[in-house]
Symmetry: C2
Subunit: 250 residues, 2 copies
C-alpha cells in the first residue's frame, strides 16, 4: 500500500484525490490546502491540514498547486518523494530532497469527471532510484505513462495549449457567431465530431479543406465582412497559416 499526501484541491488535485480514494492499493494519508473552504468537504473522510509544516509521513507527496506556488513551499523536512503536476515547471523548483514530475496530459474542469486510466502521465525524477517507485504509483492511477525530460515536457505542454485551449476558444467563437443569427450550435456537432475523429486517422494537412486552402478569395472577403475586432484577426491569421502551410502565394 502506497501512502500518498495530496497538496492542492484545484482541478487536478480533486481528480487525483478521487482516484486515490477509489484505489485499494493507495492510502490517502492527508490533503493540504491553504483554504479551509476547499478542505471542508473532506473533513471526517480524510485527514486535512492548512499548515504546510505539519504534513504527515507518506511515501509520496503530490503538489497539485499553481506553478508560481510550487517554488514557495519549503518541503525539505519531508522524507518521501515530492512531485508536482505542472507541464512547464522543472522538478528543481520543488524545495525538497527527492523530487520529480507527475504531469497529467489532460484538460480538467471541475464540472466534468475524467477517466484518469486513459490519461497519459509524463514522469520524471531527479534521482534515477526514485523512478521505479513513481511508475508503481502511476500504474495504480493510469494505463498510459512515459518518462519525459523537461525540454520535451515543455514542448508537449505547448502542443497541449494549442490542442485544447486554442481549439476550445475557436469553438467559443463558433458559439458567438451562431448566436448572432439564432443558429442552434448543436447543428454543427456532426461537423465538430467528424473534425476531431479525423485527427485519429488523417494528418491534419491532408484533412484541410475550406476557402483558405482553395484560395477562394470571394468567400474569404464575404466572411471578413461579417467579422469585427479580434474574431476578424483570428480569421485572418488562421487563413494566413493555412495558406503558408500549403504554399499558396499570398
Amino acid at each position: 500500500m502506497i501512502k500518498v499526501c495530496i497538496l492542492g484541491v484545484g482541478k487536478v488535485g480533486t481528480h487525483l484525490i478521487k482516484a486515490c480514494i477509489d484505489n485499494i492499493d493507495i492510502k490517502l494519508t492527508q490533503i493540504y490546502s491553504r483554504s479551509y473552504k476547499s478542505l471542508k468537504e473532506y473533513i471526517g473522510i480524510i485527514p486535512v491540514t492548512q499548515n504546510i509544516n505539519e504534513l504527515e509521513i507518506a511515501d509520496l507527496y503530490v503538489v497539485a498547486l499553481p506553478d508560481d506556488v510550487i517554488s514557495q513551499l519549503d518541503l525539505n523536512y519531508l522524507t518521501g518523494l515530492v512531485v508536482h503536476t505542472s507541464g512547464t515547471v522543472s522538478y528543481s523548483a520543488l524545495k525538497a530532497k527527492q523530487t520529480g514530475v507527475f504531469y497529467p496530459l489532460q484538460s480538467f474542469t471541475k464540472e466534468k469527471s475524467i477517466d484518469l486510466k486513459e490519461t497519459p502521465f509524463c514522469l520524471e525524477t531527479k534521482f534515477a532510484e526514485d523512478y521505479g517507485f513513481l511508475v508503481s504509483f502511476t500504474k495504480l492511477i493510469s494505463n498510459v505513462y512515459d518518462e519525459m525530460n523537461e525540454q520535451k515536457r515543455q514542448k508537449l505542454h505547448l502542443a497541449a495549449v494549442f490542442a485544447n485551449n486554442f481549439t476550445n476558444r475557436v469553438m467559443g467563437i463558433v458559439f458567438d457567431v451562431c448566436k448572432e443569427q439564432d443558429i442552434d450550435f448543436n447543428m454543427l456537432q456532426p461537423l465538430i465530431q467528424e473534425t476531431f475523429l479525423k485527427t485519429k486517422t488523417l494528418n491534419p494537412d491532408i484533412a484541410q479543406t475550406g476557402p483558405a486552402i482553395r484560395n477562394d478569395k470571394g468567400t474569404i472577403k464575404k466572411h471578413l465582412k461579417q467579422l469585427t475586432g479580434t474574431n476578424k484577426e483570428v480569421y485572418k491569421i488562421l487563413t494566413k497559416s493555412i495558406q503558408e502551410k500549403h504554399g499558396i502565394e499570398l
Copy 2:
C-alpha cells in the same frame, strides 16, 4: 422514384452519388463533369456526360460544383428543380427556372466516407411550391435538415469554417510542434477527444482552461519563446481572444 442528375464529382458530388446509388427510391439518371478523368469510373454503371447542354430529363439537378462555376452554367432549358450545394452562394446565381439550395453542413474529404444520414442539410427554394419536393428528396438522404435563408446559411458557413477548417489548422500546428521534439502526436489524442466531446455538454466559455485564462504571464512568455513566424502570431491572437472574452486586462 425521384430521378436525379448530379453535376460535379468533387468531394460533395462523390458522396452524393454514392448515397443516390445506395437508395432504391432514387434513380441516378446521369452524372455530369467537365473532366473525362473524373467520369471514367462511372462509365458502364451510370450514364455520364461532359456536355452541359445534353442533360437528360430529371426531377432534380444537384450542382455540386465550385462556387464560381455555379453562375457560369446556362440551365434555363431544364424543367426540373436545380439546386446547388454551396454554403455561401445565393440560389439566384443559378441560371435556371426553378432553383434552390441543398447545402450539407459537413467536411468532406475523398479519403474518408461520411454518414450522410447524420449530416444536417440546409434547404431553400426560390418558389415555395418546390420546397416540399426538396424535403422529400432530402429525407431519402439524411435524417437532419432545416429550412434556412441565405443570410442565416452564410453565417452558418462562417461558423463551420471556424469549427472545421480553423480547428483543423490548429491541429496541424500541434502536429508540427510535436515533430520538433519527436513527440508522438497520438499521446495528445485523449486530450483532443475530451476537448471536443466537451463541446456537447459544456459551453466553451465554461470549459476554457490554460495559461491565457489564468493570465499566467510566465508560461505565456515561455511558450512564445518556443515559437516563431505565423505559429507565434496564432498563439498571440488566440491568447488575446481568450483574455478579451474573459475580461482579463491586457
